[in-house]
Subunit: 327 residues, 2 copies
């Protein structure tokens, strides 16, 4: 079965690549940057280039849906590059194509805060897509880089869908009806996303789940079934937001970057600030098999399980990653 | 005839691309950076990506010898990216592959001054290849980026040839026996370059010519014949160093960068500081035909004229630009 994870953030090493391969994961959208500027992002990409050389028997750099299929055929894990923020392009429209040439295929227009392009979901007011944001959306459409609004606020997200000529993605989030968190998405957003041909990747990050770490597989799977009704079975995938092998300092970096001298606890709180405990049925790549079983038990047919587990992302990547030749 | 220019520095516009195409130039090694840091260099590459889109009927980005042949077959000019300094990689070894992925195929280890890698030809002492320089040479060898020592000092140049496992280039310089300038190369260097399979591109920049702007085509061609005896007919090409359409401020930038608050006159002088006047027989791309005629008159056979005018660079590019898969 083709299994594609719409987002992970892992401190990778050979053991973890091997675990992903052994679990039969076909491709993973990995995070190259949260707050990193242009130069820092290039260094992160440089580190990945070394990983591809050192572990070429386990992973390959997936720049296209064909590369994902090549990963499947060679028994390796395809790695899709993405940014969780627009900080890598700084203030320069030209860097969109630069990073596309370096293999970056997905970029969030904002992380949790206001960016130069859009408003993040933790801001108190949402001013929508900025002037620069409109230019970047047009350029991302041209070169074939997916607009990801996982961490963006609602107006910005709806405007991005309107402005983008190609379908967008919310690679890792859940519906607000399941758990009403700032990071989760309203039914309005989900409906518009489905109608525009976009993709939602369902998250397994405890702060996005009903009852957090104690959420059950049945609850998650029932939510998936209800979400499929809203967004359409062809527009649903997994974006687990699986975070592995990081210490607390990295969580601080994700939350506080360089923008505050204080401590921002993000989805946590001062007395619950550490990495959350994963549900026992989804703690590592091997637990994707639990998801498939849960979906089946919740009433998804075999074809639909395959769609949600990977075929939808594969089809979406096929249409989304290619540069338009006519512009 | 395949005509390849081993270096130009031109303020390009559509008219100048058209002129190069009309002159039958197959490929040109263009200058992307002198003193630019990483971010500034990315911006320059971004500008070229726009030029390729705007003038795709006249030019293409040549990343390989096959791309140069594709340029020939489609009647366009192949553009080979190169740096005249190592400033774009700053202090980070990883950026060699990053820039190779962005299509950069040639990099000087230094411009006129000491760099982090090697000593420039205007320094009073030459300490040779640095510790970082050795690492960068190994990495350039691996990814397929040509080491260019055009502006480097003699010990550094000889050491680069020794350390590099792949032949290097001096893309634009002349022999010192022709004109004894700091930028020209000793017979020792030329011999070592030829013996190691490297390439010399003969320069038409007046400061590199006997009698400067008044150098005659016969003098230049006789020098070419004598140089071929030293370096070998398969190791000689043209690297015109043609500079067009720039105002004086750009020459100041080339010479003084940000490293002096004063004025450095480079190969000129305080009373002769402006762009030099080109010899009348080599003032633009269309004058490559004069060079071919001059070589023939100086005794080069037809096959040898073709080698010097382009086939030697083509063969060299074919071996030099590919990433090694075994390392």
């Amino acid at each position: 079965m083709i299994v594609i994870d719409g987002l992970q953030y892992v401190n990778w090493n050979r053991e973890l690549f091997q675990a992903a391969k052994d679990a039969g994961i076909t491709a993973i959208h990995v995070t190259i940057a949260y707050w990193e500027n242009t130069r820092e992002t290039l260094a992160n990409i440089g580190d990945w280039q070394r990983l591809f050389r050192q572990h070429g028997d386990l992973i390959l750099h997936a720049r296209s849906a064909d590369d994902v299929l090549a990963a499947e055929q060679s028994g390796r894990v395809g790695i899709v590059f993405g940014f969780q923020n627009c900080s890598p392009i700084e203030d320069d429209l030209r860097y969109v194509q630069i990073f596309h040439e370096l293999g970056v295929r997905i970029m969030q227009l904002s992380y949790n805060n206001q960016s130069l392009l859009a408003t993040g979901c933790y801001e108190s007011r949402d001013s929508g897509i900025t002037r620069f944001g409109k230019e970047v959306i047009r350029e991302m459409n041209r070169v074939g880089m997916v607009i990801d609004m996982s961490h963006s606020a609602e107006r910005s997200t709806l405007e991005a869908m309107e402005l983008s000529e190609r379908p967008i993605a919310i690679t890792h989030a859940n519906p607000s009806f399941f758990h009403d968190a700032l990071r989760n998405k309203s039914t309005t957003v989900l409906r518009a996303l489905g109608e525009s041909g976009g993709m939602l990747g369902l998250s397994l990050y405890p702060f996005h789940l009903k009852n957090g770490s104690d959420c059950t597989l049945d609850e998650f799977s029932a939510m998936a079934a209800e979400t499929a009704e809203i967004i359409g079975i062809d527009n649903l995938g997994i974006g687990s937001d699986l975070c592995l092998n990081w210490d607390y300092q990295v969580l601080e970096w994700m939350r506080s970057g360089r923008w505050t001298a204080g401590a921002d606890y993000g989805e946590g709180s001062a007395d619950n600030k550490d990495w959350p405990r994963q549900p026992e049925w989804f703690a590592s790549c091997k637990d994707f098999s639990n998801l498939a079983q849960g979906l089946k038990k919740a009433g998804f047919g075999d074809d639909d399980v395959r769609k949600v587990m990977g075929l939808n992302w594969l089809r979406f990547f096929g249409a989304a990653f290619e540069t338009r030749q006519d512009t």
